[in-house]
C-alpha cells in the first residue's frame, strides 16, 4: 500500500520502500524522525548492514504504516 514519507511527504509504493527512502536520505530531519519514535537510527542501520533479511526496514515500515493510519 502506498504511503507518504512522514518527513518530506514523498510518495512511496509500500512501507518497506518508504523505510528505505528514509534511511537513504540520512539527513537530519529524517534521522530526527527515528529518534522521535524512540528508535536508534544507528542501531537500525547496523542491523540492516549486518543481518540478512530486511528486519530493520520491515519494522520501520510497519511503524510508518501504523502512524499513517492513526
Amino acid at each position: 500500500m502506498s504511503l507518504k514519507c512522514p518527513v518530506c511527504g514523498k510518495l512511496k509504493k509500500d512501507p518497506v520502500d518508504c523505510a528505505r527512502h528514509m534511511f537513504g536520505t540520512g539527513d537530519k530531519p529524517h534521522k530526527a524522525w527515528f529518534e522521535a519514535q524512540g528508535l536508534s537510527y544507528i542501531d537500525l542501520l547496523l542491523s540492516q548492514a549486518t543481518e540478512p533479511g530486511n528486519k530493520a526496514y520491515i519494522e520501520v515500515g510497519e511503524l510508518i504504516a501504523k502512524a499513517q493510519q492513526g
Binding site: K12, R20, G24, G26, S40, D43, L46, A49, N54
Partner: protein, 761 residues
Amino acid sequence: MTANKYSVLNTRVHNVDGYAKVTGRATYTFDVKLPGMLYGKILRSPHPHARIISIDPTEALKLPGVRAVVTGKDTLGVKQGIWRRYPELCDEQILTIEKVRYIGEPVAAVAAITEEIAEQALDLIDVQYEVLPFVDDPMEAIKKEAPMIHEGVERNVNVTRHIEWGDVEEAFEEAEYVREDWFKLGGQAHMCMETRATVASYTSDKKLTVYTSTQSPYYHQALLAGVLGLRESDIRVIAHYVGGGFGGKFELDASQFCASILSMKLSKPVKIVFTREEDFVATKRRTPMYYYVRTGVKKDGTFCAREARVFSNGGAYTGMGATALYLTGFFHSFPYKWKAYRYDGYRVYTNSLPSTSMRGFGAPQAMFCSEQQIDWIAADLGLDIIEIRRKNAHTSGYEVPGQATIASCGLTQCLDKIEQWIKDRGKLPKNRVIGISAAGFMTGGIFNWFDTPYSFSSAVVTINYDGVVELHVGAQDIGQGSNTTLAMICAEALGVKLENIKVHSGDTDHCPADLGAWGSRQTLMAGNATKMAAEDAKKQLLEFASAKFGYNIVYDVDIKDGWVYNVARPERGMHYVDLVKEALRGKDGQRIVGRGHYTPHRKGMISPAYSYMVQAVEAEIDAETGKISLHNCVTAHDCGQPINTLGLIGQLEGAASMAAGYGYLENMPVEDGKVMNPNLVDYKIIRAPDMPECEIIEIDTYEPEGPYGAKEAGEGLTNPTAAALGNAIFHATGLKMKQAPIMPEMIVNAFKEKKKEGGTP
C-alpha cells in the same frame, strides 16, 4: 601489440639498483650502524583498553647498560595523524599519555647498549593500569552502551563518508531484478620482508638524522617535525633501500617516533627494529569491513541501481583509514556505469590495532563483494558473465557523476581478451574451474589531505660534463622500481641511453619533496615531473645545438639515442656528449639544469587517471576438504603506456600473490583485541610452489594525463584476485562465499549446509 616506437620505454632493462641487490650490497635501515649507537626497545600495553595510572622506570634505569627510559610525558604529547588538514583525525600520540587503546600500543621506550639489555629493561618498567572495558568489533563499538574509545567521539564513529548520484529509489523501481547480500571482509598484514626500522641520530646542534624504512621520506620529515618541535629542514630522512612498504610505511610509526625521542634525550644514535611479532601486532593493517550491497538490474543485465553500506573496523586510531573508507565506496561502483548509486561508509573505532591503507586501499574489499554479486546476478538471470560486464563497462569519456571523468579506458578490450582466453583454454582438466573479476583503480590521489605546500612531485635534472645525468627525485623506490622507471622516462625524454642516468632518491637533504610511494602515484606524478625536468634540460641543450648548427629556422633539432640531429636530415648531427661539453662553455662552466614538477589540478574527486583490468583465475577446489589450488592467473591489463617492462611483470605477479593471499590464505583473526597469529608459521603467506603461472595481456591505450600515456600498474592488480577466486568457487560448487579470506572450513561448512538444504545451488 604495436611495435615499440620508443628507444628506452617498454624495453627489458636491468633495474638500476639491481647490482647492489643481487650482490648483497644494498644497505637497508635494518643494516645501518652508527658510531656510539644504542638499541631501543618498546614497552607495549598488554591491555586493549586501560588508563595509565603511573609508569615507574626506576628499576629499569638501574640495569647496567640502560641509558634512558622515555614515556609519553617526555614528549610534546602532540596528537598527530597523516590527515593533517583535518585536526579531528589527528588522534594518535604514539607514546600514549593518558590511556592505551589497543594491545601492543607503546607506553614507554628504552635505550641501552645492546638489544638484549634493552629487552630485559622492559620487564623492569613498572606500569600501573586501570583496566577499562573494551570493545573489538565495530558492530559492538557503535552501540550506545559501548565504552568510549576517544574522548567526545560519540558511538565511536570516527569517520563517515557518503557518495551518491542519481535517484536511487527511482532506479530501483526501474530494476526488474534486485539482489542484496552481506559480506565480511578481513584485515591483512602488510608483512614487509623488512620490519619497521629506524636509526635516529640527534646532535646537540639541534639537527636530527633519521634512517628509516619508509615509503615517503618527505612525509616522515614533516610528521617528525610536527611531533618533535623541530624545523622540518633540520630533519634529514634517509631511505636508500626499503624492504617493502605496501601502504604500511608512510605514516609515523613507533620505531621513528621512539628512536627520535630517545636520541634527542641522549644526543646519541638510537636504533629500533621491530620484531616480526611487533610488526604483526603493533602496526596498522588492511581495513576489515562489513559490507551490505543491494543491486538492481534489468532482466537483460543493464545495471540500474546500487546501494552499499560499509562499517569498517577502524581499530584504535584513524591513520589512513578515512581514505580507505572513501575509496572502497568509490571503487565499489567500478568499473561500471550506474544510473544511480549510493554509498554510506562508517568507520568505527575499536580497541584493536588500527587499520589503514594497504595495497588496493579498500578496493580489494569492494571488488570481492561487487564482482561476486554480479556473477550471482548473472546466474540468477541466465546471463553470460562477460556480456553482463561488457554491457555496463566504463568507456573513455564517461563521467562518474560528481566524482571523476574517465579519460583512457581499455576495459572493453580487456573483457574481449579474457573472453578469448577462456575460449582458447577450452575444456579444462578435471576439477578445475575459472572465475573472473574486472577492476579499475586510481593513479595517485588528488586530495591534499597532508596539507603540503609543495608540488606533489618534483624533479631536478643536472647534466655533467661527461653527459651523465644526475636525476634528483623525491619519489621513493620501495621495490616497485621507481628509480628505474623514472630513469627510463628521463632517458627517453632527454634522448640518451639509460646508462647515462644516475638516480638520486631517498634523502631529504638532497632530493626535492615528493608525496612518496602510495596510491600508485609515482609513475604518473613523479614521471610527469621527471619528463618536464628532462625536457627543460633538453630544450636548453637544443638551444646550443641550433646555434651551433645554424640550420634554417624551419628545421627541428632533436636528440635520440645520444645523437643530436636535424630531424629532416638525421645523419647530420653530433654526439650528445660533445654537445654537452660545448654547452657547458657557453654557460660559463655551469651545468645544464632542468626542473620539473607535477600537481593534479581540476581532476575530479579522486584521481587524474584510472587503470583497468580483467582477471581470470583457474583454480582447483576440493569441496570436501576446502582446499584451493591456483593453476593459472591471466590478466588483461590497461596501464596506458608500459614504461618499465620487467617492473610491470613483477608488479603484476607480486600483486597477484598478495591478492591471492587475501583471497584464501592470510587469515588474521583478532580476538578480544589480540592478534592470534602474529608470526610466519601461523599467518600464511603464499610460497613458491603454490603460486600459479601468471600471464599478462597488455591492452594498448594512451592516457593523456600520464607521461607518454602511462598510468598505474601494481596496486590495481591487487583488486580482482580474491573476487575471481570466489567466482571460481561459485561456478565449481554453487557456493556463495561472503567472507574473505576464504578459509577451508568455510567451504566445507557451506558445502555441508547446502547438502542439508537439499543440494542444488
